[in-house]
């Protein structure tokens, strides 16, 4: 067995770690260990590769590793629990950029710097050169798409769902991408070929931007998951281009598992992949979704609300992105604690896409040490709402919008929601009547049994807790 074969056999260990790690990561009990196994797998793959390479110039390798590890760690340490989804999107973009740059580097190394006078297709080999182009295109699309997704998750460009002439622009950038790929692989003059590759990179970045631009609302997690899946395919493509089995296997496992996860997420929120791409949310909502102004909205203050809560026996708190944004998780946990101490049954209803990503609310509430068994998923609590005395909606909007069940023309029609309107009383803690992420009106706020508590989520929750404590004779 020669050295090369030995490496190929050794690569089986990280691959096994990837498979078992992913499997464990999909189960609550073993998730953390699964993540460690994945990390160990990547680490091992790096060590095996370095050993195989033998003695080379390590300068740039070490520079890259040190800078990358520092940047990655600092980003995570600086991030708040609220901004986790944005961080995931950003790292996904990094992975895509890496795949694209590997393709570019290989092109310069094997074609431009050698300048053999043949076409890149001949210099690299047919499959290798196509794989190289694919890894640059998908990598760049993942990069620009993920970064745009991150910006949208921050809420700065949430209105950027309808760029005039977006469809033609997407088609144009795709056609130019294809043309640049053909030119880059077939031009014998290396200068023109290199220029085409730069064009390929630029046009792919534009295509990624236009592809993600219309995606909005609750669909963004699905889009990021999809981008994650295709970035795996980009890695596999770069594996073909370099001739590295580890990259092929690791990349395609991520690609396939990511696609499956995307599908699972689509099912969880009753969307099809196609409708996510079409950017159904944000289109035509205001035209047929009724008027955008509110009538008969009843607002109240914490003192009154606390009196209602005192006589309640069953309370459900529905957290949304507003809770995370106001960093009100601890205040919500405190309120739940006070209510529970008074013998009230308190539960948190978790919508699959509450917040900016599935599981976002679990992470945020876990930070405030809310007991695991108080979190109830949508499917299990929806039938129980008629027995609930008070629902407190904290900074959530679209996920409790009855329009999803009623108005067929609504942009969120068909999205599963928490049927909080079936409860006896609903209190909504919100800063204003402004629309949620989907950008539409919420008729729940006009219902007779719904009371608005305007204000900062943390402030209102703290006030409620204080009022409750004050009114109870110790």
């Amino acid at each position: 067995m020669n050295a090369e074969e030995l490496v190929l056999v050794a690569y089986l260990v990280p691959v096994a770690l990837f498979v078992i790690g992913l499997k464990r990561l999909s189960k609550v009990r073993t998730a953390r260990r699964g993540n460690f196994m994945l990390a160990a797998g990547v680490m091992l793959a790096v060590v095996i590769t370095l050993v195989e390479m033998g003695v080379v110039d390590y300068t740039w390798i070490l520079v890259g590793l040190a800078v990358g590890a520092t940047v990655g760690a600092v980003i995570v340490l600086w991030a708040s629990a609220t901004s986790m989804p944005q961080v995931v999107a950003r790292f996904n973009g990094f992975g895509g950029a890496a795949a694209a740059l590997i393709g570019m580097s290989l092109f310069w190394d094997a074609v431009v710097d050698r300048d053999a006078g043949t076409t890149p297709l001949a210099a690299l080999g047919a499959l290798e050169s196509v794989a190289l182009a694919v890894s640059v295109v998908i990598g760049a699309v993942t990069f620009s798409g993920s970064l745009l997704a991150e910006v949208k998750l921050w809420g700065r460009l949430s209105r950027l769902t309808r760029i005039p002439g977006r469809a033609p622009l997407l088609v144009a950038s795709s056609v130019l991408t294809a043309a640049a790929a053909v030119a880059g692989l077939l031009l014998a003059d290396v200068r023109w070929a290199a220029l085409s590759m730069v064009g390929l990179l630029v046009f792919s970045l534009l295509a990624g931007f236009f592809a993600v631009a219309p995606v909005g609302g609750a669909d963004m997690p699905v889009m990021i998951s999809l981008l994650n899946s295709v970035s795996g395919i980009a890695v596999a493509a770069s594996g073909f281009a370099i001739g590295n089995t580890m990259l092929i296997m690791g990349g395609i496992i991520v690609g396939a598992a990511g696609l499956m996860l995307t599908q699972i997420m689509c099912v969880a929120m009753n969307r099809t992949l196609l409708s996510v791409f079409a950017g159904g949310l944000g289109d035509g909502g205001s035209s047929d979704g009724g008027s955008d102004t509110y009538e008969n909205v009843v607002s109240s203050d914490p003192e009154e609300a606390a009196m209602v809560l005192e006589v309640a026996r069953s309370v459900v708190i529905v957290p949304g992105y507003g809770l995370a944004a106001a960093r009100a998780q601890q205040a919500a946990a405190d309120l739940a604690g006070v209510l529970a101490a008074q013998g009230v049954e308190v539960r948190f209803a978790i919508h699959p896409v509450a917040g900016r990503m599935p599981g976002h609310m679990n992470v945020v509430l876990a930070e405030a040490d809310v007991p695991y068994d108080r979190l109830v998923e949508m499917d299990r609590i929806n039938s129980d709402f008629p027995n609930v005395d008070v629902v407190i909606v904290v900074g959530a909007n679209d996920v409790v919008n009855p329009a999803a069940n009623e108005a067929t023309g609504s942009p969120i029609a068909g999205m599963p929601i928490l049927d909080v309107e079936n409860a006896r009383r609903v209190m909504v803690i919100k800063r204003s009547l402004s629309p949620g992420y989907a950008g539409i009106k919420n008729e729940l706020f006009e219902r007779d049994h719904c009371t608005m508590l305007f204000g900062d989520a943390k402030q209102v929750l703290d006030d409620l807790t204080r009022e409750l404590k004050a009114n109870v004779p110790v």
Partner: protein, 97 residues
Amino acid sequence: MTGTLVLAVYVFVLAAFLGYELLTKVPPMLHTPLMSGANAMSGVAVIGALILAGTTTGVAATVFATSAVALATANVVGGFMVTDRMLSSFTVKRERA
């Protein structure tokens, strides 16, 4: 097509099936950590970048490869850290419950 290439295609197709069949039921609370973990795993691209950064001599190729090493490493290190951070909050809570 050479024999190695055919084998690579075999590996590709079989690994695709493996990955696709790997996940069946995933609780919604794990959707984001799983996405994040799989994303960190795709940072295994770092080894491709390492190979190029260690062997290439051209300026442009070295710049591209070194940037790729840095970005992929950030993806791996940060990705697994952020996944662990999300998961740790779940597990701590479980033990107390």
